[in-house]
Symmetry: C2
Subunit: 311 residues, 2 copies
DNA sequence: CGATTAATGCTCAATATGAGTATATGCGGG
DNA sequence: CCCGCATATACTCATATTGAGCATTAATCG
C-alpha cells in the first residue's frame, strides 16, 4: 500500500432527500435546483451514516426517519477539472416529511418530475414520449451504419421507454436517463454548453452527475415501496387510505386500482384505524389510519408487495 | 471543506468472490481463510469497479462476469488500532466459475457454510439451531432485567432464526449474523481472544468485519437470484436443469420442488436446449441446456422469480 | 432382471392479482 | 329538502401464479 497515493483521496456524502407534499414527490436541492445537497466526510464523523445525518438534520431541522446507502462513485473525471485530487462520492437515499422544516439557506424542495418529465405517467403516457422523445431515439438508433447495432439501440430504447408495445416499467428510471445521456439528449452529456434554466422536454439539468444520482435514488425507491413499508416514512402520523395511495402513486409515477390497493394494505395489516374521521377532500368522510409499527417487529422481511400494476 | 482533514482518508476495495463447485457455494479467501481478498484503491485505477476487476482478475486469472457493489463502510473503529487514519471500505459481490483459475499465492476457495453453518438448510434444519443456538439466544434474551427488552430480544431471535413457528427466511443472513454478534456468540465480538481455527457451532471467524461483509454478500445474492438471472454466471456453458437447480439450492441453502423449478425455468424461457444429452449422474439421461442470453436484451428487468419455497 | 436414480409430463387445490359492480355517506347548491 | 357530485367502502369474478403430488419413462448397477 503506497501511503502517499492513498492519501490523495477525499470523500463526499451526497443525499437524495425525498418528501411527498401535495401529491408531488419532492427532492431537496441547493444551488437553485442545480445540485443535490452534499458535504464532506470528515474525521469528526462517527460513521458515514451519522455524518450524513448530522448535516442533513442541521439543514432541514428535521430528524431523518430513514436513510439507506445508494451507491459509491469515484470515476476519474468526476471533478471535471484536471485536479489530481480523487473524490469518492457516497450517496444516500433519505426519506422525510416536508412539514415544518424551515429549510436553511437556499435549500429548496423541487418536484422530481422537473428533472424527469417523462417519468410521470399518472395522467397517462406523457405526450412527449411518443411525439418527441421516441422519434429522436429512433433517429439516434438509425444514425449508426451497422444494422445490428442500430437494431440493438432501438430495442434498448423501446424496452426502456415502452415503445413498440413494450409495457412501461416504472423502475427503469436510471436506465432511461443513461440512455438519454448516451444519446446526448440530456444537457449533462455536453458539458459547458447551454447554461439556461430551461425545462426542456429532457428535463432540468443538474451539476456534475447529480441527476444520475437522483435517478438512482428514484429507481431504488420505486423498487423498495413494493416490498418494504417505507412509504410511511413519507406520510403524516395519520392519513386516509386515499392519501396513502396518492403518495405511492406520486412516487411510482402511475395510478393504481383503488379497491385493490385498499385490499392489499388492509389484508397485510400495515395500518390500523385511529377511530377519527376526516371530511377534508370532498366526498364521503374517510377513516383515518396510522401505520402499525408492529409489522416492523413481526415481519423481519416485512413485505409490502404493492402490486402497482396498471390501473 | 477542511482539506487537511479530507486528505487523511484511504480507500480499500473488498471482494466477495463467489463460485459454486461440486454443489457447494464457495468464496475466495486469503490468509488461510481468515480474510476476504482486498486491495487499495489507487490513483491509477480508472474507477472503483475497474480497480477491483484489475486485481481480482490478476489473482484468479479469470475474467469476472458479474460485479455488483455491496456496501461502503467507514466506521471509526474499523481498523482496531488507534491510528488516526480513516479507511473507507467499498465492498463488491463478484460471481465467477471456479474451473481453471490456478489461484495465485495463498488464495483459496472455501465453502461459505464454514463461516455460517446455521445457514445450510438443504438437509433440513441444522440440529445445532434448535439444540444449541436457540437455547443460548433464549438465555441471552433472559439475561436482561427489563421484561419488555427481554421479550423483544427473543422475538428478534425467533424471527431471524425461525424459532417459535416462524418460517425460515433464507434472506436474513446478515440479520442473523448481527444478532449473534450482538449476543457476543461469534468470535469477532470479542477481539483478541481465541485465535484458534476451530470451526465452532458459530462458524469460522474472520479478520476485522470481513465475515459481516461476506454475510452481506450472501444476503444480496440470495435475494438477487429470485429476480435476476445471475445464477448463470456461476454455471458452465451448458448444464442440465438439475445442475442448475443444485446451484440455486447451494446458494439459497434450501431445497426446491424439482418439477416446479423446471416449470418456472422453462416457461420463463431462461434456457434453451443444446441438443446434446448427458448421462453422468446416474439416472435417465438429461438434456443439456444453455442460458438464453436473449433474455438480457429482451427483458430489461429480466425477472427470474425463483420461488424458492420450501420443498 | 429388479432396484435405483433421474428426467419429464400432468393434475389439483389454494392463493394472489387485475378489474369491475354496487352501495354508502358526506357536502354544496338550487 | 332534494339532487347531484365526489369519495369511501363492500363485494364479486375470472385468471394467473404457486405449492405439492402422482405417474411414467429411461438409463445404470448389481
Amino acid at each position: 500500500m503506497k501511503a502517499g497515493q492513498r492519501h490523495a483521496i477525499a470523500a463526499e456524502l451526497i443525499a437524495v432527500l425525498v418528501a411527498v407534499t401535495a401529491g408531488q414527490p419532492r427532492v431537496m436541492t441547493i444551488m437553485n435546483g442545480k445540485a443535490l445537497p452534499s458535504g464532506p466526510f470528515e474525521l469528526g464523523h462517527r460513521s458515514l451514516q451519522s455524518g450524513l445525518r448530522d448535516w442533513v438534520e442541521q439543514q432541514t431541522r428535521h430528524p431523518l426517519g430513514y436513510i439507506e446507502q445508494l451507491y459509491t462513485f469515484a470515476d476519474r473525471d468526476r471533478a471535471g477539472d484536471a485536479s489530481e485530487q480523487r473524490v469518492i462520492s457516497i450517496s444516500y437515499l433519505a426519506l422525510t416529511r416536508e412539514e415544518q422544516a424551515g429549510p436553511a439557506n437556499k435549500a429548496a424542495w423541487r418536484n422530481w418530475y422537473d428533472y424527469f418529465p417523462w417519468e410521470d405517467h399518472r395522467a397517462g403516457v406523457p405526450s412527449a414520449l411518443p411525439d418527441a422523445i421516441g422519434p429522436r431515439l429512433k433517429a439516434w438508433a438509425d444514425a449508426v451504419d451497422d444494422r445490428a447495432m442500430s437494431h440493438t439501440r432501438w430495442q434498448r430504447a423501446a424496452i426502456a421507454f415502452g415503445f413498440d408495445n413494450h409495457a412501461w416499467n416504472e423502475e427503469l428510471v436510471l436506465q432511461r436517463y443513461e440512455l438519454l445521456y448516451e444519446a446526448r439528449f440530456v444537457e449533462e452529456a455536453h458539458r459547458g454548453q447551454s447554461e439556461d434554466d430551461a425545462r426542456s422536454m429532457f428535463g432540468r439539468a443538474m451539476q456534475a452527475d447529480h441527476r444520475r444520482i437522483l435517478a438512482t435514488g428514484i429507481t431504488r425507491l420505486r423498487a423498495k415501496i413494493k416490498y418494504r413499508p417505507v412509504v410511511f416514512e413519507l406520510m403524516p402520523p395519520t392519513f386516509t387510505l386515499l392519501q396513502l395511495q396518492r403518495c405511492v402513486e406520486a412516487l411510482a409515477g402511475r395510478v393504481v386500482h383503488k379497491q385493490n390497493f385498499r385490499r392489499l394494505v388492509e389484508q397485510q395489516e400495515l395500518v390500523e384505524v385511529t377511530g377519527a374521521m376526516t371530511a377534508d377532500t370532498g366526498g364521503r368522510p374517510a377513516k383515518l389510519f396510522r401505520f402499525r409499527y408492529g409489522v416492523l417487529a413481526e415481519r423481519a422481511a416485512a413485505a409490502t408487495k404493492l402490486p402497482l400494476s396498471l390501473a
